[in-house]
């Protein structure tokens, strides 16, 4: 396991710091520097892990739950909650090993199935490997949870779970390895993805699009009023996503240092900028700024800054956020209706498009003094090409394998609930419960 490919500059800087410190203390340079536990870094990574967990339960659960009709709210919460449990076990059993054990270019190996070999003293840089594993686990939880929004209000719970379980192993783990794993070919090629723009967002957004195309529209789509039943839940969810996202982005530094601080600051700025962009775009084009709009904008900004968080300065984040806000607004308000798919909660429009915008702009706004790699504005146009390469590979793999998997699951066990069940609502028909 190694995250060296991910953030070479960080390790370098750390080594320098140590060297300086060593010199200062009049000592020889330590040989195994990366193996010494730093309690501050560990404290931050423990915190970051639970922040990312908080993003899924209850973050995504509420964000989505508030947007469906009242008769489907519990089923929607159930999806996120159950995914959280299932992904935990899958990650422990095989996912982590496939993503982070071994040095192959395309996928890890089975050296750490069941987390074999991870003890209390195993280290990963300056933090315990158990913490690194846990942090990555929370990413493996939220990614499939995000997908559920596209198929809300009509998919069978059992089919969804089977599909997402397979997807995690066959799609997520490899892509994660490509970008962050030791020897992964995208990371190795120099594609920048600080905290998961490709791995998490483009990946889940594209899978979501494929899924809702295969699944078809909800009954009544375009005719009945399918508006959100309680945006209070959505706002709570969006807020927890926002707060938790600092674990995502500042946590991806894997240390409590200046880069983490800068990642946090730019995340905040991009989220706010995108939220305002969406709000004003809606205000001008529709006459009223909606609560759903500003919340969607904030999430779009968070998505877009994700790949860039460790590479840009505040001013870059401001521009990136504004562009992402407008771009996703356009995708959701216009593109979706043109193309006519029923992505119930706009997973593709926000995560897919937002992730693409962010990944491209990372190549534009990257600043050498921050993350070690210059971007287009600093004269390194090639980085944009690299970013497009990463985006393209991710989209292609995710789309194709998702399509195969969902067709497979559909053939074996069917995908949609009965029409009557959909009409009655999934809460009662699938889970035997309802809210009053």
């Amino acid at each position: 396991m190694s995250e060296v490919s991910r953030r070479p500059n960080k390790v370098a800087k750390f080594a320098t710091t140590l060297a300086v410190a060593g010199a200062f203390l009049g000592l020889a340079e330590p040989a195994m520097a990366a193996e010494e536990l730093n309690s501050g870094d560990t404290a931050w990574m423990l915190t970051s892990s639970l922040l990312v967990l908080l993003m899924t339960v209850p973050g995504v659960a509420l964000f989505y739950g508030g947007m469906v009709r009242k008769k489907n709210v519990l089923a929607t919460l159930m999806q996120s909650f159950a995914v959280c449990c299932m992904a935990t076990i899958i990650w422990m059993v095989i996912g982590y090993s496939l993503a982070f054990s071994g040095e192959g270019p395309f996928v890890g190996d089975l050296g750490q199935v069941f987390l074999m070999g991870i003890g209390v003293d195993s280290m990963s840089g300056t933090i315990p490997e158990s913490v690194f594993m846990m942090f990555q686990m929370t990413f493996a939880i939220i990614t499939p949870a995000l997908i559920t929004g596209a198929v809300a209000e009509r998919i069978k719970f059992s089919s969804l779970m089977v599909f997402l379980g397979l997807w995690l192993v066959v799609v997520y783990a490899p892509i994660c390895h490509w970008v962050w794993g030791g020897g992964g070919f995208l990371g190795g090629a120099g594609v920048l993805d600080f905290a998961g723009g490709t791995v998490v967002h483009i990946n889940s957004g594209v899978a979501a699009l494929v899924l809702c195309l295969v699944l078809g529209k909800r009954i009544g789509y375009g005719r009945e009023n399918l508006a959100p039943h309680n945006l209070v839940l959505t706002i709570i969810g969006a807020s927890l996503l926002w707060v938790g996202w600092f674990g995502f982005n500042a946590g991806s530094e894997l240390a409590a240092d200046g880069n983490a601080g800068m990642a946090m600051a730019v995340t905040q700025i991009a989220a706010a900028a995108a939220a305002l962009a969406w709000m004003f775009a809606e205000w001008f084009t529709r006459g009223k700024p909606s609560v759903l709009g500003i919340a969607s904008g904030a999430v779009a900004g968070l998505v877009a800054i994700t790949p860039a968080a460790g590479f840009v300065l505040p001013s870059g984040a401001l521009a990136l956020g504004l562009l992402a806000g407008f771009g996703c607004f356009f995708a959701v308000m216009w593109l979706k209706h043109k193309l006519g798919y029923d992505d119930a909660l706009d997973v593709f429009g926000v995560h897919g498009i937002g992730g693409i915008i962010g990944a491209v702009l990372t190549g534009v706004f990257a600043v050498e003094a921050v993350g070690g790699t210059p971007g287009l504005l600093e004269g390194n146009g090639a980085q944009v090409g690299l970013q497009l390469y990463g985006i393209g590979v991710t989209i292609a793999y995710s789309a194709i394998v998702t399509f195969i998997l969902i067709k497979l699951v559909g053939a074996v066990m069917g995908l949609r609930v009965e029409e009557d069940e959909e009409r009655e609502g999934l809460d009662v028909s699938l889970h035997g419960e309802s809210i009053s």
């Binding site: 529709r286 759903l292 209706h337």
Partner: protein
């Protein structure tokens, strides 16, 4: 006896009730309803779609009244619930031959 059913604007409830109490009406049953009528609803915005929410929240009052009070009840509700603006609501009434107070079993106008 008559059964009176009135659909009014929600914020008029307290006023109407006070006026009815003064008349001597002792009981009313109130339901939250959605009204469709001449008054237009509003538009809700939902991600690229605008929904015409063409109902309006109203309150429905149901009250059984004695024949002697009937005219004054109709008049009173009509007056206090009135704002003069579209959507003020409606009053309906029909004959009510049977009424029973469950607690005592009294029936007819004693039950009201």
């Amino acid at each position: 006896m008559k059964m009176v059913m009135a659909v009014i604007k929600p914020f008029k409830l307290d006023e109407v009730r006070d006026a009815l109490t003064e008349l001597g009406v002792q009981g009313v049953t109130v339901t939250e309803v959605r009204g469709f009528g001449r008054q237009k609803g509003h538009t809700e915005i939902y991600r690229g779609a605008e929904y015409e929410v063409n109902y309006l929240p109203k309150l429905k009052l149901e009250l059984a009244v004695n024949d002697d009070l009937f005219d004054r009840v109709i008049e009173t509700i009509a007056n206090t619930a009135k704002t003069g603006q579209i959507g003020d609501g409606k009053l309906f009434a029909w004959d009510l031959p049977t009424a029973v107070r469950i607690r005592t079993g009294e029936s007819g106008s004693d039950a009201l």
